[in-house]
Every structure is written in C-alpha cells, then in structure tokens.
C-alpha cells in the first residue's frame, strides 16, 4: 500500500504560526492592523487554530527577545474578538512566561496553549500545563529542539507532559535540522508510550527544505496536528509553508478543512508583501538547519555580525558547537564579542 492511499481520508488539524513564529521574521514589529488582516483571512480560509503572541510567547517582550509595539493582551484581544470559527492559541515558555500571563491571555480570549520546554526539560512545565487545563484550555506540551534528544528520550519527556495534563505532545524541529526518518522515529516512539487519546503534533522549520516532507512523515506515523504558516512566515527559513502543505494534503487526500485557493491568495496578496526579507532557504538559514541551531537566532546573528565584524555563519556554527538552546539569544552577542576579541577586532573592557 503506498503512502498516499494509506493517508486518504486522514483528518488533521492545522495550526497557523504566522502571527507568532512570524513575529520573529518581522523582528516582533507586526501592527495590530496586520494581525487582524492576517487572522481574518485565516479564519475565512477555515484554519482552525491561530497562534497569536510575541514570537517568544507570553512574557516575550524583553531586551532579550525584542519589544513588540503592543502587548500580548492587545494582540490577542484584537484577534480573538473577530474570529468566526478559528480558536486563538498562545505560546508559553516556562522561565520566560508565567501563569499570571497565561491567565491574562485566557481573559483576552485565548483558548489553546503550547507550553514549551527544551526537549530534555519537560519537568519545568508541570504547573503551567496543569494550570492551562484548569482554565479549560486545549493544552499542548511542546518539546523544542527535538533533534537534540533520542526518540526514546523524547518519548519519556512527552510522557511526563501527558502526566501533567497535556492533551497533545508536539515534536518541535526548532532548528529545521530533522530529516523525515528522524521525524518518523520520534513520532513512533511517542505513539508507543502515549495514551491513544493523546494527540501528537509536529512543528517544522524549513531550513533544510524539509518542512512539508517532515510533516507528511509525521502524519504517516500517526501525528494529527501540524503547525505551519502562510508563505512560511516564521523564524529561520520559516515554518512549513501552509498553502503548499495544504496543496500536498489535498493531492494525498488528507483532510485539513482549509480552503486551498484562499490560502494561496493570502500568501501572495497579504503575507509576501509585508515580509521585511524574503523568508527562504539562504546561506544563513541553511546554516541553522545544517548545524542544528535554533531558528530564531538567525536575525540576531546577522545583527551581531554587522556590529562586530564576525561573519554570521561563523557565529551560528560556534553557537551550535557550544550547544546553545532556544532562549539564549544573549549568548549570540556574547559569542560574537568573544570571537571578535580572538580575531583582534575588539578590545577587552576590563584590560
């Protein structure tokens, strides 16, 4: 039996990331009007879940992650009040965001949450996952940089999140590093240990051009939720491009409930015109995928490269070597400064 036959009629839930991961691609500078325009078009196209926050989620407004022009509450309220069918979700990374902020997002209309930890640190999320369930939110445990844990190790982490109350566990390829076989092994390992009613999701980045292939591989092994964003608007080379993924699903008979032509139109007419740079696989984003570096580091590394005269590819490779993970954006400038000193481009303040 070939793959397309086996997937015919399979229903999956698409979760749009344009207004959260896409914030990274916009250096967190999206306006309320842009958010409303994009969310309304997604709602019209039948996308069931739309994530809306600062790129780093709850508590993301910071020097570390950049300040957006508006608070998460303002964005969520503006979008949630206008949705006809779509549910608004948020991102919460413990250590950055708190339960107070989650409650506030809920009060503004958010009803679903990705509670995210690094792929080995699920036990930093019990209070947040339990609290989201208590609020009655659709609750996902989101294991970031999933390529840095083995399939079995990742399955144990997913099991922990399930035990805290997560209804869905995501494999998150934050670095766009994984190949389809890596994705399949991880989905299968999770499927083997999670309860049958616990869903599995996949969040891809397109740094190696594998966003769609990886998402399909995940579905083949039993994943039922896929994160994607229109025209790929997201960190690094972007997320799995939603309209392309929807087209592939349609050809394979996978049921997404989304209107393909409306998604194609909004990619061309709304998303691409507002991109600050073309979100695509280029030298730097390919370096992220190849070296296994957190996609959000891309624009930070480019800025540090300009300032300290060390090429961004060198900085990214060094960050990968030092095993820096999501949230350590401060270490990009630090690493660039250390490299600049070694290359005689910068003097030591303490010297």
């Amino acid at each position: 039996m070939s793959a397309d036959q086996s997937l015919k009629g399979r229903k999956i839930i698409i979760h749009d990331m344009s207004l959260r991961d896409g914030m990274h691609a916009k250096r967190e500078q999206m306006s309320i009007e842009q958010m409303i325009t994009i969310a309304t078009a997604l709602d019209e196209a039948g996308v069931p879940l739309i994530q809306v926050t600062h790129g780093a989620g709850m508590g993301g407004n910071s020097l570390q992650h950049g300040f957006a022009p508006h608070s998460n509450e303002e964005y969520i309220t503006a979008v949630a009040s206008r949705m006809k069918q779509a549910v608004v979700s948020v991102l919460l990374i413990p250590g950055l965001g708190t339960m107070k902020e989650l409650k506030s997002a809920y009060d503004c209309g958010a009803r679903s949450v990705h509670v995210a930890t690094h792929c080995t640190e699920a036990d930093t999320s019990p209070q947040h996952i339990a609290f989201a369930r208590k609020l009655g939110m659709d609750t996902t445990g989101f294991l970031m940089m999933a390529h840095l844990n083995t399939p079995e190790g990742l399955a144990q982490q997913g099991k922990l999140m399930e035990s805290y109350g997560a209804q869905t566990v995501y494999i998150t390829d934050s670095a766009g590093y994984m190949l389809p076989a890596d994705v399949k092994a991880r989905v299968a390992a999770l499927r083997a240990v999670l309860k049958p009613e616990t869903e599995i999701g996949f969040h891809g980045h397109h740094n190696m051009g594998m966003g769609i292939a990886n998402s399909i591989a995940a579905i083949e092994e039993g994943a039922s939720r896929i994160d994607a964003s229109v025209a790929g608007l997201g960190a690094g080379a972007g997320n799995t491009p939603l309209e392309v993924f929807a087209a592939v699903c349609e050809r394979m008979g996978i049921v997404t409930g989304c209107d393909l032509f409306k998604l194609m139109d909004m990619a061309e007419d709304i998303i691409v015109p507002l991109m600050d740079h073309m979100v695509r696989v280029d030298r730097s984003s390919l370096t992220l995928g190849f070296a296994g570096v957190y996609s959000t580091f891309l624009l930070h590394a480019k800025r540090a490269a300009e300032r300290f005269g060390v090429p961004s590819r060198d900085i990214l490779v060094e960050l990968g070597r030092k095993k820096m993970i999501g949230g350590q954006e401060d270490m990009i400038v630090d690493t660039a400064m250390t490299m600049a000193k070694e290359r005689g481009l910068l003097k030591d303040a303490a010297a």
Binding site: G59, S62, L63, Q64, P94, G95, L96, T98, M99, K100, H118, T120, E121, D123, T124, P126, Q127, H128, L148, K322, K323, M324, I325, G327, Q328, D330, M331, V333, D334, M337, T338, K341, A349, A350
Partner: protein, 305 residues
C-alpha cells in the same frame, strides 16, 4: 577564637555544600543538620563530617537549640515550610538565613545591602535566588551611578544543577528575582529570565545583565563601578568573572558574566548553587562578626509559656 554555632535545615545539595563553606569560616561552626528522611545521603554525609543530625524536621532540632547555643540557622528547604521553620527558631532567638524563595524577611545581596541588615539586627534575611545573587550586584553597580528605568537579567543554568524543587516552581523563581532586581538592584522595573541548558559537559552558569539608563550612560564611570563590584563579589565567590562588556548601545548597558563554583560538594559548573551558599555564608559571617564583637545582640528568647 569564638565561633557562632549554626544549624542547617535541608539536607539536599545546598545544605550539604553549606557544610563545607561554614566549616572553612573563621566565624561560624556547623553543629546541626536537619532533614526529613533518615535514609538521606545528605544526613549520612553530615554525620560523617561531625555534625549532629535529626530526621524529624525542624521540630527535631528545637529541643537542642538552647543547650547547643545555636544562634544562626540556614533554611534550604522550600518556600512552603520556611515560614513555620523561621517562626519556631526566631522564638528561640535564632537568626534565620532563608535560601528558599519564601522571602518573608528583607532581601539580601551581600555587597549591596548586607551591612544595613546586620545593623538593623534583622532576624530573617532572604537570599533571593541564585540568579539574583549573580546579577543584582551588577544592576546595583549601574544604578548607583545613574537612574535605571529597566533591569533585565538572563540566567543560563546547567540542567544538572537544577533540582526538582526549582523545576516544579519556576514561576516563583521568576517573581522573586524580578522583584529583587527592583528592590535591591535599584531598577524601577525588573525582569528575570531563566534558561536551563542540558549540554554535556555541563555549561558554567552564565548571566547577562542589561540595564536601560534614563540618560545617556556615563560609560567610564559605569565600567569602573561594574569592575569594582565584581571584585567585591569575588571576595566570596572567586569564580565570578566578567566575560564580555560592559557593552553600550544607546541607553542600554549589557554585562556578560560567568560563575564557576568552588567545587566543594557541587561541581564547578554549578556556580548558581555555589553563589547561593557562598552569599548565605558571607551573610552569616557578617552577623557572626557583629555578635562576637558585641556590636549587635540577637533578641533573647522569650520565656516559654
């Protein structure tokens, strides 16, 4: 020379590391270790190191406080039980050093405000959090030069150095540290971020401190103040080291630090735990020196009714 006799409550990593630091102190002597599990490795180690132990919690210590002349206690348990522990020991005239996020007493960062606390004879001082101890001296070093509207710190911690208590209660860490950046560091608004990194070999504790000054930063003065402060912290944490900065970006001042531990009980990468135990020991020493010199007197125990 007379030493002030101490009790340690909580026989985990922090409590055990404290034994080493207190044993080295010219002013302090570790006498009791309090746990709740008779089988715990921490209690066994404390016995081997010559301490009296009880597995009956703080109630197991209370009958011995007066006869053993315990004057200072370190609490490394949890925020939930600290208030009760503190009340019971304060009643017996024992001064508490709180290493939990309970923060019922004033917040203490030794090079910033320890002397003021000792002069006031506070009976309970709180050590905030590891990230607080590692970053607030730098925030203060900037804010003593010019007004800081916003202070933000990012603490990167080795996964192996973070115990189950902190993991299950990350929000408390965030709230306690953010508040202390304001109250002790002198920033009008504070924000704390924590990242737990599982890299092998484990990474050293790293801290990035950013301050937004109201006016253009006086670069030379701030740099001098930061370097001076680092020397102060190095007196009790020799592995406290400037890696990069101060970096000036408009009104933003950024300092990149690393903290290596002494490697007593905890490995060197666990600079985060080490800076807590070292700061707590430094705090106790300051009180002990004043008690020994007779310049302060702890409140004598109330007569039991």
């Amino acid at each position: 020379m007379k030493k002030i006799r101490c009790a340690l409550i909580g026989s985990g990593n922090i409590g055990t590391d404290l034994i080493y630091k207190i044993q080295r102190s010219p002013f302090l002597e570790p006498v009791w270790m309090v746990g709740i599990d008779p089988e715990s490795e921490g209690l066994a180690r404390a016995r081997d190191m010559g301490l009296k132990t009880t597995a009956a919690g703080v109630d197991g210590l209370l009958p011995h406080v007066l006869e053993d002349n315990i004057q200072i206690a370190f609490d490394a348990t949890s925020a939930y039980v600290h208030a009760e522990n503190s009340r019971k020991l304060n009643e017996l005239g024992v001064m508490m050093i709180d290493l939990t996020p309970a923060a019922i007493g004033p917040l203490c960062v030794p090079p910033v405000n320890l002397k003021a606390h000792a002069e006031k004879v506070e009976m309970n001082v709180n050590m905030i959090s590891c990230a607080g101890q590692a970053t607030i001296p730098i925030v203060f070093a900037v804010s003593r030069i010019q007004a800081v509207g916003y202070g933000e710190i990012v603490a990167s911690l080795a996964s192996k150095s973070i115990g189950p208590g902190t993991r299950a209660n990350l929000d408390e860490f965030t709230y306690t540290t953010s508040n202390a950046i304001e109250v002790v560091g002198g920033a009008r608004k504070g924000k704390a971020l924590a990242i737990i990194n599982p890299a092998e070999p484990p990474m050293m504790m790293r801290n990035t401190i950013s301050c937004l000054t109201d006016d253009e930063p006086e670069q030379a003065k701030i740099t001098e103040s930061v370097l001076e402060m680092i020397k102060e912290v190095q007196k009790y944490v020799p592995g406290y080291r400037l890696v990069n900065g101060p970096l000036f970006d408009g009104k933003r001042v950024t300092v990149f630090m690393e903290v290596a531990g002494l490697g007593d009980y905890l490995p060197k990468y666990a600079g985060n735990l080490d800076i807590m135990t070292a700061a707590a020991t430094r705090t106790a020493e300051m009180f002990a020196q004043e008690i020994i010199a007779g310049t302060i007197q702890l409140k004598s125990p109330e007569v039991a009714s």
